[in-house]
Subunit: 412 residues, 2 copies
């Protein structure tokens, strides 16, 4: 496309691309913007180096003028968008990229890859955090997704309120608090469960979390409290009917005087399983597979569409395709969240006229200006924003069933 | 775990970890081993550098003896496994890692991340390739998954018989053939569809593929053949009832004398949609979202379990946990595929006795010996192996419905 547009001369036309979702897949009630910070990092690093250019040349992927264009590539346009942690709805213009056609079209894949992945994970994470109430959730899904996606997933989970992650790289790169667990292998490694527990307590102290379901849960709990005393930090359950087993273990811990020992549960938990455990005596959750796979919705269905471009006379014109079932809305858009008198969100307003409505808060912020990153912020700031954005939504947003978006999107 | 095991002395015990799936998620009939080559690359690069060690020290994640161990870490053990492209079934020991407990347990996350991702994608890809018959499939899902997972997904798809990918990094890094498409944005960029088509033909020749559903398909097909002539390479359809539209476009192309112009279809295709298009006049498919998300099964549910370890007397002992619903089978295992007189696979034999059965082909190969990589091979070799391995399966393997694995796994 770039080669042909360079040749036709259209490559230098000013263009506006918009990132949005036609619908929220999986019948989600709201989406969560995540990955914006990663997009800014990627955009800053987006260059064609010698290896890339040699590959394109040797394989005759593009012609010489295109290679020259790519060799000098550096995005010099503008990006606006919903800040990270904000909620979105069908048609929300969560990111808008303005530049020449050639410079903006090249960013489609990297922007969509990051946002489609991170928004899908974040949207699932937000549901889990709400289902868990005040109980903390540890993210521990690294083993169940691509090794680099795992780091981004841990970041997105923390953004949405997870307490910590087992992914140490997410700790190092993004400052996400880290937490570890002992696996069954650690118990099996030792000649007895008692020896394994003692080794863990010797190394990590009585405040550690002992995994008690390798052999027999009741025996393991007894052994754990005998060795660590009533100040044992926690026990972890990873199998069986967690609701039932948690009740039994709570009763046993209390009978042994370990009233403060917490019960952590894991084992293919998702937001539905977490909600079902609300009345069980559980103190925290570990979530793996369902977090990193978006709990049934591993990609956010975001698209990157040309909505306006310069015409032959140099005038910006809205454009839209008319493909059956997949039409787009032309024009550079502004977005606002309309609130009622109590501060509860009632509608997503998307306008091409640019008139700010009353009682509505603007949703877009500058992210890149003339190629310079201007929208960087801490992950903590995005995490705080997410908490506030979710609190503003109507209660219907928290229905876990499939259904319509919690807010209608109103276009003008 | 490593810290506690170093302290208890158990870290240096010889240990055997096994990668296997308890079941094939999504009711798949067979799984495809993919990612082995990536595991070998990752294992060779698996080191703790200054940044990693500083993070672990500064955040008091582990103690000094553990930091010393990590600083000198280099895997020195053995890995055996099913070679890439081979099929697998529940309980197949697709990878076995032997070493000290500490050196082998550290590899769990990276090995499972790679295999869980790549096997899930490959398993979906293999179903799609079978459904497509002799028609080529282009992988074009990069925008719908994490930016690095996209490269691995393109590799896994090619391994299973996809013809090409739109991911240029997969071309550069893994030698996967690349192919591009024009997007609706290219048409919308120009002042008319005619100008857009002409620009593309000028640049890429009449053999290019023109996207014909931006406005009106029949008008676009007429314009395309007028501009490119009957030697137009292909048209792409990305919306509507593809079966019906393909028939209309085929008739129109034939009426215009463009008998050799091919019809490529895209638009959220998966193996079911591809199968449903078998009788339509379609010449090739582009598959995106459903490939990179494993068509409903984004992770392969592979686990990494300790199955044997040295005891206090230095004797190797099989070990297995007894967790409710998630038991494991102890012991170092050998695996064979049992074939009938016609060469059709009839069972997966998994044995701890090590006796090779008659009429069965051994499934495991050496991958790493004393820390040295010995199992590297070309992606083409793995691709050839996959074709042969699938051809050997009974026809029930190709049922797209959810159901039992195509082969029973027989343990002794």
């Amino acid at each position: 496309m770039v080669e042909a547009a360079l040749r036709s001369g259209a490559a230098s036309r000013r263009a506006v691309f918009e990132v949005f979702a036609r619908q929220l897949p999986g019948g989600r009630r709201y989406g969560v913007v995540a990955g914006t910070g990663r997009v800014l990092d990627a955009l800053e690093a987006f260059r064609f180096g010698d290896d890339e250019l040699a590959f394109l040349r040797d394989n005759e992927v593009v012609d010489e003028p295109t290679l020259d264009f790519l060799a000098g590539y550096r995005f010099g346009g503008d990006v606006r968008g919903y800040p990270e942690g904000e909620c979105y709805f069908p048609g929300s213009p969560i990111m808008t990229v303005e530049g020449t056609f050639a410079e903006a079209v090249l960013l489609e894949t990297v922007i969509l890859s990051i946002l489609n992945h991170d928004c899908a994970i974040a949207t699932a994470a937000s549901r889990m955090v709400h289902a868990a109430g005040n109980r903390p959730i540890i993210e521990m899904g690294s083993r169940r997704t691509h090794e680099k996606a795992a780091v981004a997933a841990a970041r997105a989970a923390y953004l949405c309120g997870f307490a910590s992650t087992s992914n140490l790289m997410a700790g190092r790169v993004y400052g996400v608090p880290t937490a570890g667990t002992a696996a069954h292998a650690f118990t099996l490694l030792h000649d007895s469960e008692e020896q394994a527990f003692q080794a863990q307590i010797d190394s990590l102290g009585a405040g550690t979390t002992l995994l008690v379901d390798t052999y027999d849960v009741a025996r393991a709990v007894r052994t754990a409290v005998e060795l660590a005393g009533p100040s044992l930090g926690a026990v972890r359950l990873d199998s069986g009917d967690l609701c039932e087993v948690a009740r039994e273990v709570r009763a046993q811990l209390d009978a042994l005087g370990a009233h403060k020992t917490r019960i952590i549960v894991t084992s293919d938990l998702d937001e539905y399983a977490i909600a079902a455990l609300a009345s069980a005596p559980v103190d925290g959750y570990g979530v793996g597979t369902s977090l990193v796979t978006g709990s049934g919705v591993p990609t956010a269905a975001l698209v990157y569409k040309l909505v306006a471009r310069e015409d032959a006379d140099g005038i910006m014109r809205p454009v839209a395709k008319r493909s059956v079932g997949k039409p787009s809305r032309g024009g550079l858009k502004q977005a606002f969240r309309s609130l009622d008198a109590t501060g509860t969100a009632v509608a997503e307003l998307v306008t091409v006229s640019g008139e700010p409505p009353a009682d509505a808060r603007p949703l877009q912020v500058p992210l890149v200006g003339d190629g310079e990153i201007v929208g960087r912020e801490s992950l903590q700031a995005a995490r705080d924003r997410h908490r506030a954005a979710v609190a503003e939504l109507p209660v219907t947003a928290h229905q876990l069933s499939r259904g319509d978006a919690a807010l209608p999107t109103v276009f003008d």
